[in-house]
């Protein structure tokens, strides 16, 4: 695969962003739609050209030196997991544009420009192979999201945007400190020559002592856990989701949060496997608390968008739990979750956006029984809710199940690796059992939501059609063709990958196996050293050719 394909997946939306910002406002949305559709092309070609038999390798690699004195260069490359996430980001471009088609009426150039810029930055994160590009893109995603929430959000947008920015910016500054520390270690070893190459730094980071790794892991998690968001730093997300415009919520849920889990997958597992293995139980407790706590909060929500937002916190808890299980099943489930959560929750946010456009309320006490009035809308709503619940046959099911099975098996992982004595250092069945309750809670609140909104007696907010002016008589109508087209790719994703997740599992198998191997080796090393206090040092450490 040529690096130009990856560059094109970044550059097309970026060029589209400038085009959308510069053309007259009336054409902004069609320009944006065209640009986002065109941007899918290089992603598709890249998926095709990618050598899936060697998915653990970073393909399409290319690098440009920028500031050799400071080790600054821009290099790209993608492995199987990156490719899947890049494809998801590219696919969501037109969905977001279509979802905003009528919802955004003011300053359209600004909106679509930033939306596409956001897409470019997210793809940049996924194909970065040096920390400069990674960090720049990681940080840059804040600006578009800040603008989208701050300008186009609902009533509490200023507070939400500020909170979003401060949380994530502060977190990622600390992440930067962790990166810089690793880079400094590398610079010391290479005689003062700095490098930010991810593979080089990965080897240096893995060679650090467990104590150093623990600090680096802490610094990395400061940024990534906020982004995921992991309990207890999740409080910005419900606010940001609730206030963001529909497209903002969709991007936020579908891709932006995945930057956090991707960061954990790539760096927490790849750079600090010793610390990751050592602290997995504690982090898993946080993830499980998040699953249950956010699930219970969902139950008592009256604002339907807030409910879905908290459900994101709960679901991402599963995703992190799968990573922490650090076995092939769990991490595969987690990667699947990153994708499937994008489809199902992205779909739910679209649904709520469409409802809000019609009724200008998201309060479940004011609204209900819409199945009789908007059957198509309700069908999609039920469909996405079921996908989110984890109904077998839809995409939530395999990913959630794999995460949980991985958690159950996690204590066995080390014995599978030929190690005696799995003595509770890792996750195990009790983690799985407690997290499993989260599935039940998830079913409860999502069914409860669907039940109130879609079924029962028709309730509509008083005076809801005052906004509509002359066209009030025929509104609120059911979904129109444009909205259905918006939802179809998401629904198709839910259904196809629910019935047949094998392509995704296969595609992510090799990179997942590599990351799992790193953590497993580290844990085995740690255990061997603990078992042999005489000072015997196991030299069968992580094999040097593996890159994070």
């Amino acid at each position: 695969m040529s690096p130009w394909l990856l560059i094109a997946t970044m550059a097309f939306p970026l060029l589209g962003a400038f085009a959308a910002a510069l053309v007259p406002a009336a054409r902004a949305r069609s320009t944006a739609l065209a640009a986002s559709l065109v941007s899918i092309l290089p992603a598709i070609v890249a998926l095709d050209r990618f050598d899936w038999s060697d998915a653990a390798a970073f393909q399409g690699a290319g690098a440009v030196e920028w500031l050799p004195a400071l080790g600054l260069e821009l290099s790209i490359g993608a492995d199987g997991v990156s490719m899947l996430l890049i494809a998801l980001s590219a696919l969501l471009g037109p969905v977001c544009v279509l979802a905003s088609w009528t919802a955004i009426n003011t300053r359209q150039g600004l909106f679509y420009g930033w939306l596409l810029a956001l897409q470019a930055a997210m793809i940049g994160v996924f194909c970065a192979r040096d920390l400069l590009l990674f960090y720049v893109c990681f940080e840059f995603t804040l600006l578009p999201m800040f603008v989208l929430i701050r300008v186009y959000g609902s009533s509490g947008r200023v507070k939400a945007a500020t909170k979003f920015f401060l949380y994530t910016f502060t977190g990622s500054i600390i992440t930067l400190a962790g990166f810089v520390y690793v880079a400094w270690q590398a610079a010391q070893q290479s005689g003062g020559l700095w490098s930010l190459d991810m593979a080089v730094l990965g080897e240096v980071a893995r060679a650090m002592s467990p104590g150093q790794q623990a600090w680096v892991l802490g610094a990395l998690l400061a940024g990534f856990a906020v982004k995921v968001p992991l309990f207890p730093v999740h409080t910005w997300l419900p606010l940001a989701h609730t206030e963001a415009p529909t497209a903002g919520s969709v991007v936020l849920a579908a891709v932006l949060l995945k930057l956090g889990t991707y960061g954990i997958f790539r760096f927490a597992m790849g750079y600090t496997p010793d610390a990751f293995a050592a602290f997995a139980p504690q982090l898993a407790v946080l993830a499980i608390v998040g699953i249950l706590y956010a699930g219970l909060i969902c139950w008592v929500q009256t604002d339907v968008k807030k409910l879905v937002a908290y459900s994101s916190v709960s679901h991402l808890g599963f995703c992190v739990l799968g990573l922490l299980a650090a076995n092939h099943t769990g991490v595969t489930g987690s990667v699947l979750y990153m994708l499937s959560h994008g489809f199902s929750t992205g779909g739910l946010f679209c649904m709520i956006g469409f409802m809000y456009e019609r009724y200008h309320t998201r309060d479940m006490r004011e609204i209900g029984g819409l199945a009789s009035k908007m059957p198509v809308w309700s069908s999609f709503m039920v469909f996405f809710a079921m996908a989110s619940v984890g109904l077998p046959g839809l995409n939530g099911f395999p990913s959630e199940l794999l995460c949980l099975i991985g958690t159950f098996q996690s204590d066995a992982a080390w014995s599978l690796a030929g190690e005696p004595g799995a003595d509770g250092m890792t996750l195990g069945r009790w983690y799985g059992v407690v997290a499993g309750i989260g599935m039940v809670v998830g079913a409860i609140y999502l069914l409860y939501m669907v039940g109130r909104i879609c079924f029962g007696e028709l309730r509509e907010p008083a005076g809801h059609d005052d906004h509509q002016g002359a066209g009030a008589a025929r509104l609120p109508a059911d979904l129109n063709a444009r909205e259905i087209v918006t939802l179809l790719p998401l629904a198709a994703g839910c259904l196809i990958f629910g019935l047949y997740p094998k392509p995704l599992v296969d595609a992510s198998a090799a990179p997942v196996a590599r990351q799992v191997q790193l953590v497993t080796d580290a844990a085995i090393d740690a255990r061997t050293e603990a078992a042999q206090p005489t000072g015997f040092i196991d030299t069968s450490g992580p094999s040097p050719e593996v890159a994070p």
Partner: protein
């Protein structure tokens, strides 16, 4: 003395231009008076050229410093010159043009204004040539004295007069403090010549008087860079002065201050005492505390401001704190570990991006014909005046250090050098402060970019001065275009910050042979540390 002329041609050029400006600016012919700024421009260009061809001075603490630093001064000086256009005498010239009044040299300020501007830049250049405490003192004062007058005559309101008086009184206090420090250093070392002082300190150690002298001198000089606790004048003065003059205050005295700090720290060297790779403990501790306080106080107070110029003043305080990290890190073998190069490079970045923000403010006026100062008055600027709006956005984001703009690349060497020198807590404070800074810089960006125009608010108009938006545009372009030249610029900064360690033989003249052996290890240890680190 005469051999020093070789290093002084840029200053001499500027001085000749100053004299010319003084004469021409008082000419009764309007066309001749208009020549003032052109003379300044040509002189600065010439000075930049002469600076670039200045030979290395093997006697100086920083032998290769002059070309980079004087070139930097001339380039930023040119941008300041553009921003300063039309600051004084605009109404007066207008009246004269319309034949209402006749030219009266007593009423006109143009000659003073431009000549003082050149004087101040001359002083700044002289700071880099200084090899003697007296010289350094005179150069610092030559930098500052004209700015006091420029603050007062920059606007016709009373605020600038108040600001000028405040600046002058506190500036005199600062000067007294560092002069006292210089006197103590002289007392301790018995000479005012840098090389003699260095030899004396290397031989006998600092001693209590020397330590006191260094600390007091550094404290006094921190007035020039607006570092805590000598920062109190900054917001009032920046707010009171016209924006172009504020831009100048944020760069010229700061650069002079850092030159002096370089020189003072160079007197003792980064690697003072046996096995140390740092400044003497007391100096290190004081600069550490000053740096941490300066960053934090500047940034925290900046978040509380509603006036753009006060906010920029506090942010300018914070930027001084960032640069002090580089001073503490000291010289190094590689670009990444060379803190002095980081400071020199950051001065360039700061000069470029800072002029832009002030130039935008200077090129706007509200309905009363005054510069807009309240943050709210800039609401929606991007839509009413796209050029001004985007210029201020780019420069502000660069000041924030948003990657990949110039300000970000300026900060990276400060980080890497600080880490290489083992100043981890300070670097952490630097990182946290960058996060705090995001708060107020983004507030400015959001106001300009996102906020809708307040319909009731008086409309913002542009000043009829072409040069100022050009300065803003050059700055805004600079924070992007210079990105491709960062590598050579950093290398130039690295070259020019080469620190000449004190000669060991000189220092141990009366000592025995074994002591000679011991001390022939270079004193600036990190500078000359063997390649054993590489292992």
């Amino acid at each position: 003395m005469i051999e020093k002329l070789a290093y002084l041609w840029p200053e001499i050029t500027l001085f000749i231009a100053t004299c010319l400006v003084m004469i021409v600016g008082l000419s009764p012919a309007a066309n001749a008076r208009r020549l003032c700024s052109w003379i300044c421009g040509v002189a600065l260009l010439l000075a930049a050229g002469l600076a670039a061809s200045t030979p290395a001075n093997p006697e100086a603490l920083f032998p290769d410093l002059i070309p980079y630093f004087k070139g930097l001064t001339a380039v930023v000086g040119l941008m300041l010159l553009l921003a300063l256009a039309g600051t004084v005498d605009r109404d007066l010239e207008d009246l004269i043009d319309r034949g209402k009044i006749k030219f009266n040299p007593l009423q006109a300020n143009r000659a003073e204004f431009y000549s003082f501007f050149l004087f101040s830049l001359t002083g700044l250049m002289l700071c880099a040539t200084a090899d003697d405490l007296i010289w350094l003192f005179l150069a610092l004062e030559l930098t500052s004295l004209p700015t006091y007058v420029m603050v007062v005559i920059s606007t016709r309101g009373t605020r600038s007069q108040e600001a000028g008086v405040k600046y002058f009184v506190l500036g005199a206090l600062g000067a007294a403090v560092f002069l006292y420090g210089f006197a103590l250093i002289y007392g301790a070392a018995g000479s005012t010549d840098f090389n003699d002082i260095r030899a004396a300190f290397a031989q006998d150690g600092l001693g209590s008087i020397g330590t006191a002298g260094m600390l007091i001198a550094l404290l006094g000089v921190s007035f020039k860079i607006a570092a805590v606790p000598m920062h109190f004048y900054t917001p009032d003065v920046y707010q009171g002065a016209a924006s172009p003059v504020s831009a100048m205050l944020a760069f010229v005295p700061k650069a002079a201050g850092f030159m002096s700090i370089f020189a003072l720290c160079g007197l003792v060297g980064w690697g003072f005492g046996e096995g140390s790779d740092r400044l003497p403990e007391s100096v290190h501790a004081m600069l550490w505390v000053v740096a941490a306080l300066t960053m934090t106080v500047g940034n925290v107070l900046a978040t509380l401001q509603d006036s753009v110029k006060r906010m920029l003043a506090y942010s300018s305080i914070a930027h001084s704190g960032y640069m002090l990290v580089g001073v503490l890190a000291g010289p190094g073998d590689t670009i990444a570990s060379n803190g002095l190069a980081a400071v020199l490079f950051y001065l360039l970045c700061y000069g470029v991006m800072n002029v832009g923000v002030f130039a935008v403010l200077a090129s706007l006026r509200n309905s009363q014909g005054e510069e807009p100062d309240a943050l709210d008055s800039l609401r929606g600027l991007v839509r009413s005046h796209p050029l001004h709006g985007w210029a201020i956005i780019l420069c502000t984001l660069s000041l924030l250090g948003f990657p990949p703009l110039l300000g970000f690349l300026g900060k990276v060497p400060l980080f890497t050098s600080g880490i290489s020198a083992g100043l981890l807590p300070l670097v952490l404070i630097l990182g946290v402060n960058s996060a705090i800074a995001a708060f107020y810089y983004l507030r400015l960006v959001a106001t300009v970019y996102l906020e809708p125009k307040d319909e009731d608010a008086p409309a913002i108009d542009t000043q009829p001065i072409v040069a100022r938006p050009i300065a803003a545009a050059i700055s805004a372009g600079g924070v992007i275009v210079l990105l491709i030249a960062v590598q050579p610029l950093l290398e130039a900064a690295h070259q020019s910050s080469r620190y000449r360690p004190v000669e060991a033989v000189e220092a141990v003249a009366p000592a025995a042979d074994d002591a000679l052996l011991q001390l022939s290890e270079p004193i600036t240890s990190r500078d000359a540390q063997p390649a054993s680190d590489a292992g």
